[in-house]
Every structure is written in structure tokens, then in C-alpha cells.
């Protein structure tokens, strides 16, 4: 059984293919905003529209199959930016109609979790899902993924990027801040906002930007990163103690931050929890995670006519199929 998965919720247009549970292709093309700018949804959508034919061909070639060999098509129909989601859904519907194969709408956050679990052989983790737009602490209880904590304003990735832009750094800002932070030595106190298991980053970005005028770039980057990540680890630790889970899985684009990995490792160890990070290609947005999730959730297939984008789709509303 071959499943094709389409990811287009934000910057990345990704197409992956799975043969049963095995990933056989994971191709992508990433939209880059113009220098000094954040993502412009309509521009990103244009990029996806322009590159989808090529990425699809590459994926089929990589998997060494023909279009006609596909059995299921899965698409990330949310959460995400509406114009970007539309491109993916359009392509998925077209393939589903053309090839007369079922269409499975997949929740983007859940796909990150499922591929992470598979890649790390983790069974029942507490998940720290951190990307540009999303920052959530999620875990399964009953037949749903529950959200224990999350950002109340912007995603942590966007907070890094925004702060980087304010410092006049080129995109992508996150990695630049991380590099600068390595050379920082002096901690400059910054606002630390945690409410229960939720957190917020806007105040931190504003204040760090203000204080950057009278500070070394390295020091302010260091202080910003340490503050943001400490907040994140604190709420994750609270959720870990609260849920008593024995595994911690870090995923999403921001998982590439090595300081974040290190902090999670230290925290998990104190709670005797195993710590996992999936391979880089599965942390960032990718098509393989959509294909894999579409395959394991395949009984959720829908009539293509009924599938629509779902820009604010919460992962805690999507029933997890019981193992067969």
C-alpha cells in the first residue's frame, strides 16, 4: 500500500511517500521570504503552486513508482496559513479524483508526533512540539492527544525570527541567534512569562529588542535564548511531572536548536525519562510525516468533496485510531 503525503501549511512544500509504514521518499522545496521580512502567506502559496509539479515528480522518482501505483493520498489540511493550505488541498483533491483513491486529511501537529514516535521508537511520550507558529506540550490520554501547555501568543520559532529581524540579522533568524548566543557571556535580565503550563513570548521579544540598544549583540542573544528556552523547559517539566510520562519527545523545526536539546536532556534525566529527538528531516515540516500519518489513520479517509482547509485545527479533536 503506497501513500502520498502533501505538506504545505507554511514555508515548506513537502511531498513524501510511504510504502506501508516505511518512508520511501521525502522531497521538499522551501519558500524564502525576501531579506528582512517575515513570511507573506500569498507569496508562500505562490511558491508552493510553482514548485509542486517538480516536487511531486521528484518524490515519485525517488520512490521508484508511478502515480498510478498510489493507493492513498494524504494532505495536511491544518493548522496553517490558509493560502498555503489551499495549495496542498487542491493538489490532493486533484490526485484523489484523478486516480480514484481515498483522500485522508491529516492534522499537521499530529503528523509531527506520529513520525517522531516512529523514528525514535517511542511509545507514549510527552511531546514538546516547537516550530515557527506552534509551541505545544502534548500527550496522549484516552483516544486523544491532549494539549497540556502552549504558547498564549506567538510560536517560539517566530519569537526567535522576530527578535533576529529586530537585531537586523538575516533569515532564518533562529539559527543566527543560536550562534550568537554561544558567544554571549553576560546575562541581561528579561521578562519571563509562564502561566501554569502555558507561556508567552511577545513581552520577551519587545523587551530584548529594547535592551539590545545598549548591549552587545552576543549578550542579548544569549539572554534572550536562555530566557525563552528556560520558560519552555519549565512548562514541559511541569507537564512531565503532572502526566508522569516516562518519555520526552522533542520535535518541530526549533528542535534543531542544540541548546534546547541539551536542556531537555538534562531535565528529562532528573525525572528518569528517556529523551528523544527524531532525525533532522522529520523535525522540520515534511511530506513523509503526512504520508505516514495518512497511512496509519487511513480509515479516516473522506470524500474529496468534503475535505476543506482547517486553519485552526486543534490536535486534541482528532481521534487516534485504535491499534488493529
Amino acid at each position: 500500500m503506497n501513500c502520498l503525503g502533501i505538506e504545505s501549511t507554511a514555508h515548506t512544500l513537502g511531498i513524501g511517500i510511504t510504502k506501508k509504514e516505511e518512508v520511501v521518499a521525502n522531497e521538499r522545496s522551501i519558500y524564502k521570504p525576501s531579506p528582512g521580512k517575515g513570511i507573506v502567506p500569498s507569496e508562500a502559496a505562490k511558491h508552493h503552486s510553482k514548485t509542486k509539479k517538480k516536487v511531486l515528480e521528484d518524490a515519485l522518482k525517488k520512490a521508484n513508482i508511478e502515480k498510478e501505483d498510489l493507493d492513498i493520498v494524504a494532505v495536511a489540511s491544518g493548522p496553517g496559513l490558509p493560502p498555503c493550505l489551499l495549495e496542498g488541498v487542491k493538489l490532493a483533491k486533484k490526485l484523489s479524483n484523478q486516480l480514484k483513491i481515498p483522500l485522508v486529511p491529516v492534522n499537521h501537529c499530529i503528523a509531527h508526533i506520529e513520525i517522531g514516535k516512529k523514528d525514535c521508537k517511542s511509545k507514549d511520550p510527552l511531546v514538546q512540539y516547537v516550530s515557527g507558529g506552534n509551541t505545544q506540550i502534548i500527550s496522549q490520554s484516552g483516544n486523544l492527544y491532549r494539549i497540556y501547555g502552549e504558547t498564549l501568543d506567538i510560536g517560539i520559532g517566530n519569537a526567535f525570527d522576530k527578535f533576529a529581524r529586530n537585531l537586523g540579522l538575516q533569515m532564518p533568524g533562529g539559527p543566527k541567534i543560536m550562534q550568537l548566543a554561544k558567544k554571549g557571556e553576560n546575562y541581561i535580565p528579561l521578562p519571563y512569562t509562564v502561566k501554569g503550563m502555558d507561556l508567552a513570548f511577545s513581552g520577551l521579544v519587545t523587551e530584548a529588542t529594547r535592551k539590545s540598544e545598549n548591549a552587545e549583540k552576543e549578550d542579548i542573544a544569549y539572554s534572550f535564548q536562555e530566557t525563552a528556552l528556560s520558560m519552555l523547559i519549565e512548562v514541559t517539566e511541569r507537564a512531565l511531572a503532572h502526566t508522569k510520562k516516562e518519555e520526552l519527545l522533542l520535535t518541530g523545526g526549533v528542535a534543531a536548536n542544540t541548546r534546547l536539546q541539551e536542556m531537555n536532556q538534562l531535565m528529562a534525566k532528573e525525572h528518569q525519562a528517556d529523551f528523544y529527538v527524531p532525525k533532522r528531516e522529520y523535525c522540520g515540516d515534511n511530506g513523509a510525516m503526512i504520508a505516514y500519518t495518512g497511512y496509519i489513520y487511513r480509515e479516516k479517509n473522506q470524500d474529496p468533496k468534503e475535505v476543506d482547509i482547517n486553519p485552526t485545527w486543534r490536535p486534541n479533536t482528532y481521534k487516534i485510531p485504535l491499534p488493529k
Partner: protein
């Protein structure tokens, strides 16, 4: 002294103080964060906890603080012999309707006193001798702002949804009946509508 609980923030030990059973709550340094942040947070939280425990005691049940040690960031308080509301819900020992109302009244009392607890979870509520005691005031704040009170309710609502998903609605609906402050509830609605997670 034996460890009774290793939580997210603190380690708790059972001990005796002047012959009575007490709990020592110690905020140990966290290896994952830098010294500067660790110091600020541990100091601030323990000071807040002591101050707000005392202030809250005028309107809700809280354990008495017997000793504060700023050096090892610990406080010694009376031990509440009972179990957390979380555990009691999980063991079906609570009537969700009655409980919701009781919690509502309790939170209203705090808010009228201009206290936002900021970590309202069922692990921070202990039932002892028929009454609910509220603990863990390290993140509490002195505030008259309605937004902060609404946020306090939101933390509790979301916690119910993730953790007590079998009875969350029943508890929440009754919480509102016990709380009975339409203005703050309305503010909460506004915040939820504005938020991304609706």
C-alpha cells in the same frame, strides 16, 4: 527526612517540627538553566509563596508556614493529611457538581482579594477534613486586573480539559456557578476568542 514528592519545581520531604508532621518544600537548583536565571526564579518564587500564602489565608484554606529558609530556598509548612483533588477525581471520590461549585467559590474568594494564583490545578488542591486547601503559591500575584483573573480561570479550565476529560465540562459549568462573577467570565470568553486555540 523522606521524599514524598518530586515535582516540577520542588522536592518535598516529610519531617517533624516541634513534634508535628510537616512538609519541607525545597526548590533545588535546576541544572538545565543558567545560574543567573535559576537564582532569580528560585528566590522570587519562594518569597512570593510565603507572602501570598499568608495573604490568601484570609480568604481560603492554606497550610501554615512554620519556617522559611532563603539560603536553601525552602519552606516548612504544616502537613495536610488528605489527598489531592486530582487523585480524588481519578478515584471517583468527588462529586463533580459539588466540587465545581466549591472550587468556584474558593477562586472567587481569592480574586475578590486581588490574588491570581496562576497555577490553578487539581494537584494544587488538597481535601482535608471535608475542606479544600489551596497550595503552591509560587507564581501567584497581587493584582486587581480583570485580565489576570480571567487568565487564572483559563489555566484551570485548560487543565481540566487535558487532565480530567471525563468530567471537565461538569466541573467547569459548576465552577462558573460557584464563581458567580459575570464580568470576569465575560473577559475570559473574550480572551479565548482572541486566542489562537479556539
Amino acid at each position: 527526612m523522606n521524599v514524598v514528592y518530586r515535582g516540577a519545581e520542588a522536592t518535598l520531604y516529610r519531617d517533624k517540627y516541634l513534634g508535628i508532621p510537616v512538609i519541607k518544600k525545597e526548590r533545588k537548583p535546576k541544572k538545565y538553566r543558567i545560574r543567573e536565571i535559576d537564582d532569580i526564579i528560585r528566590k522570587e518564587r519562594i518569597k512570593k509563596e510565603v507572602k501570598m500564602l499568608k495573604k490568601a489565608r484570609e480568604v481560603v484554606k492554606t497550610p501554615h508556614t512554620l519556617q522559611v529558609n532563603l539560603k536553601d530556598h525552602s519552606i516548612v509548612m504544616e502537613e495536610l493529611e488528605g489527598s489531592t483533588i486530582k487523585k480524588r477525581i481519578e478515584e471517583n471520590q468527588e462529586n463533580p457538581q459539588k466540587l465545581g461549585r466549591e472550587i468556584g467559590k474558593m477562586i472567587r474568594g481569592l480574586h475578590d482579594k486581588n490574588i491570581a494564583h496562576n497555577d490553578l490545578t487539581t494537584s494544587n488542591m488538597i481535601r482535608k477534613g471535608g475542606e479544600i486547601f489551596l497550595i503552591d503559591f509560587g507564581m501567584a500575584e497581587d493584582t486587581h486586573r480583570i485580565e489576570n483573573k480571567a487568565m487564572d480561570l483559563l489555566v484551570f479550565k485548560k487543565m481540566l480539559k487535558s487532565t480530567h476529560w471525563k468530567v471537565d465540562r461538569e466541573i467547569w459549568e459548576n465552577m462558573k456557578k460557584g464563581y458567580r462573577d459575570e464580568k470576569t467570565i465575560k473577559k475570559l470568553k473574550e480572551i479565548e476568542e482572541r486566542a489562537r486555540y479556539l
